[in-house]
């Protein structure tokens, strides 16, 4: 018991020491999308949709993403420490579960300790240990390991309660990650390797996984983003090879690592040592090694068709399989293992820390930017905040998922041209949607309704006076090519068919016209619209857009879609030097009840030429 506790304490200390900055890391990127989930909830139906409606890639993850963020954000707001404390606690629990599983099955306490140490120092864990959106990679193994423990108890004792516990962990695992469908393969390996006669009991697990897979695929929308498309071809072999190399923890395809020969030599040394250990385990007919291999292959297999989205994050759980297998070899032949293990721990641990430090620094930049904006809003209540010279890191780390909507009254834009220096990632979003058009910026600055800041050197510098002068020179009286109809600044460009502004949007009638500046080099007309809470009164809605009388786009909005974010090429006959009247026709319309009830088409946001 003392040895076991000491082993766990050592693994825990290594984990905390290595990933310590991850405990203090603020939010970044997708975190803000999850933190904003509560804003979509106004009723019980909304809550159900927020918890269970599948996202674009068919992901659901109610436990590891939606409940995790909804609950903690509700109680702690934008304080990240509770999120990180829970993530670290779950990982420490994972270490205990993994250590005990190895020990229970192999009967070797040292093997359990070495296995979790090997897992802990692998740099594949770094992202999960420093990014709250990757919590699924910690909760999922927790439930898988729990299920494995229960299965082992059942295999050993036949205890039916253990069977129920396995089923509970198995089913809850689907709430953590859809890859839980592979658990029956892992349970199958444990059963067939140690209690082959109980194989029939596996069938219900496979049946549930098959049903979940069918349901998940049916719910997932057809994938058009090449990054997330599945390629079931020979490229999967290359992807597997890449992941195998990454499993050393010392290499990633996009890693800016020094090309020093000793780095490569260390990587080769660790790889060859691991292969030798695997060969030795095979020669010894070590069943546990085969279990570790099945764990690795089963948890990695579903990722292999994602050949355009290779990430060390996906290795977090698979490398536990390798660690559990190789931990046995290292514990049995410590003299042979000591040098490779220490080289691996130093090399992989070094990269793990580098990644965690990078994530900490990036999130810290975001925290400072966000805190600065909140401070600026306090100093200039009610005013728009325009940001100029925002870096790519700041934009993609913070702004893209719009954390500002989490603070009431905060209205943040990029200053005109503020998107031009930002890296392009069309699969993640378009910075142009944050840009306030020049004429609108000028109006806001002239009226004293906006302030301009530059985030630089760790603080925001107020450059409003300079920008007021520049705006007066550059955007005198011209029409904006992008109008947010939900904002008052460019209301003069709304010609007809528009109702009063509501919270960030504006209802149209069945026909509405907005006047935009000349198209110039713009190629597309973009339109953002919403149904609003119409309670299913309408079915499919058709939107037709005309540019100076020429049809530019025709879109259908099915009953189940609440938002429309579309673009269409501008008509070829459009005069690019003349202002463009964009006419929107919506059918069918709604009619508000009571005398003088408004005719409602759709609630519109931004309409523009890009």
């Amino acid at each position: 018991m003392k040895y076991r506790a000491a082993g766990f304490a050592l693994a825990g200390v290594v984990c905390l020491a290595l990933y310590w900055p991850g405990l203090m890391t603020w939010f970044s990127m997708d975190d803000f999308a999850w933190l904003g989930l509560r804003l979509s909830i106004a009723s019980g139906d909304d809550l159900l949709a927020a918890l269970f409606s599948p996202k674009a890639q068919g992901t659901i993850r109610p436990l590891s993403e939606r409940l995790y963020f909804l609950t903690l954000e509700k109680f702690f707001g934008l304080e990240s420490l509770p999120f990180r404390l829970i993530a670290f606690s779950v990982q420490l629990w994972n270490l205990w579960l993994a250590q005990r599983l190895v020990e229970r099955v192999t009967g070797e306490r040292a093997a359990g300790v070495v296995a979790v140490l090997l897992w802990t120092v692998n740099s594949a864990l770094a992202l999960a240990m420093s990014w709250s959106s990757a919590f699924n990679q910690l909760l999922w193994p927790c439930l898988m390991l729990g299920a494995c423990h229960a299965r082992w108890t059942w295999l050993e004792t036949g205890n039916r309660r253990a069977r129920w516990a396995e089923w509970a962990c198995f089913l809850l695992g689907f709430g953590a990650l859809e890859l839980q469908v592979v658990y029956p393969a892992i349970a199958g390996a444990l059963t067939l390797l140690y209690r082959r006669e109980r194989w029939r009991e596996l069938l219900p697990l496979f049946a549930v996984s098959a049903a979940y897979t069918a349901m998940n695929r049916a719910m997932a929308k057809p994938q058009t983003n090449p990054v997330y498309m599945l390629y079931w071809d020979g490229g999967m072999v290359g992807t597997f090879g890449t992941y195998l190399r990454m499993a050393t923890g010392m290499w990633r395809p996009e890693m800016f690592r020094p090309e020093d020969a000793w780095w490569v030599a260390a990587e080769v040394f660790v790889g060859v040592s691991a292969l030798a250990a695997a060969g030795w385990l095979a020669w010894k007919r070590e069943r546990w090694a085969l279990f570790g291999a099945v764990w690795f292959l089963a948890t990695l297999g579903p990722i292999l068709p994602l050949k355009n989205h290779i990430s060390d994050y996906y290795l977090t759980v698979p490398v536990l399989g390798l660690a559990m297998a190789l931990g046995v070899a290292a514990a049995r032949r410590p003299v042979w293992a000591v040098v490779p293990v220490l080289v691996y721990a130093a090399g992989s641990g070094y990269w793990a820390r580098r990644i965690v430090d990078y994530n900490f620094d990036r999130a810290e930049q975001g925290r400072l930017l966000f805190a600065g904006i909140c401070e600026a809003a306090r100093l200039h209540p009610g005013q728009l905040i325009l940001l100029t010279s925002v870096s790519s890191e700041q934009y993609w780390g913070v702004m893209n998922d719009n954390p500002f909507r989490l603070v009431e009254g905060l209205r943040v834009y990029l200053a005109p041209g503020g998107d031009e220096n930002i890296e392009k990632h069309p699969d993640l979003g378009d910075p142009a949607r944050f840009v306030l058009p020049g004429p609108a910026a000028r109006k806001a600055l002239d009226r004293g309704e906006a302030v301009v800041y530059v985030p630089s050197g760790g603080k925001l510098r107020n450059v409003t006076a300079l920008w007021r002068e520049l705006a007066a020179k550059q955007w005198g009286g011209e029409l904006a090519t992008l109008v947010d109809v939900g904002q008052p600044l460019l209301a003069s460009q709304l010609i007809s068919g528009w109702h009063a502004i509501e919270q960030g949007f504006r209802w149209s009638a069945g026909r509405a016209v907005v006047r935009l500046g000349p198209a110039g080099s713009a190629t597309r007309l973009t339109v953002d619209a919403f149904r609003g809470g119409e309670g299913g009164k309408r079915g499919k809605v058709t939107v037709v857009a005309l540019a100076n009388g020429l049809e530019a786009g025709r879109w259908e909005m099915p009953r189940e879609d609440s938002a429309l974010a579309v673009s269409a090429p501008l008509p070829s006959g459009l005069d690019r030097g003349a202002p463009v009247n964009v006419e929107l026709r919506i059918e069918p319309v709604l009619r508000e009840e009571g005398a003088g009830g408004r005719e409602l088409g759709l609630a519109f946001g931004k309409i523009g030429l890009r």
Partner: protein, 184 residues
Amino acid sequence: MRRVMVAGLALLALSVMSGCKKKQAVQYVEEGGSQLMTAVNVADPKAAVQLLRGFHDVENNAWRWTGPKFAVALRPPKEIAPEGAKLFVEYAVPDVFIQKVPQTTLTIQVNGKALDPETITKAGSGRLERTVPLELLKGDVVTIDFSLDKFLAAGDVDQRELGMIVSVVGLEGVKPPPPAAPAK
């Protein structure tokens, strides 16, 4: 031997713990007008207020890549020669750029009025100079807009659109007097 492994890992743990991170305590916002400069070193954090658009992050504490269009705001010099002030840009064009874009033309506008463009066909560092007529230098601030007709598209080298490497942009009013002859 197990103890050696365990001791090694514990040592590793202690060594990485020594590099613990602390959250920065900073003043988030700096209010008050900034004094514009007549020349900006683009790597200087204080100069960021004058980089209006199109500049990527600072690299090597010395320079920035620009995008295909970029702009700066400068304060006109206090003393300007009758023929005007001199606009200068210290820049570099790396080999990788010329390999993919053998020729590009940089157009320059001062407060909306075009100056002579510059055609770039060679890699290396250089200093571009143009005379800016006096009538374009009225007021407290001058906007200089640059635009390249050809550039590295996003994905050619990295995910940014890349124009040129710039280190300094500025205006010089009058030529400094020639250095005095050394005393005999």
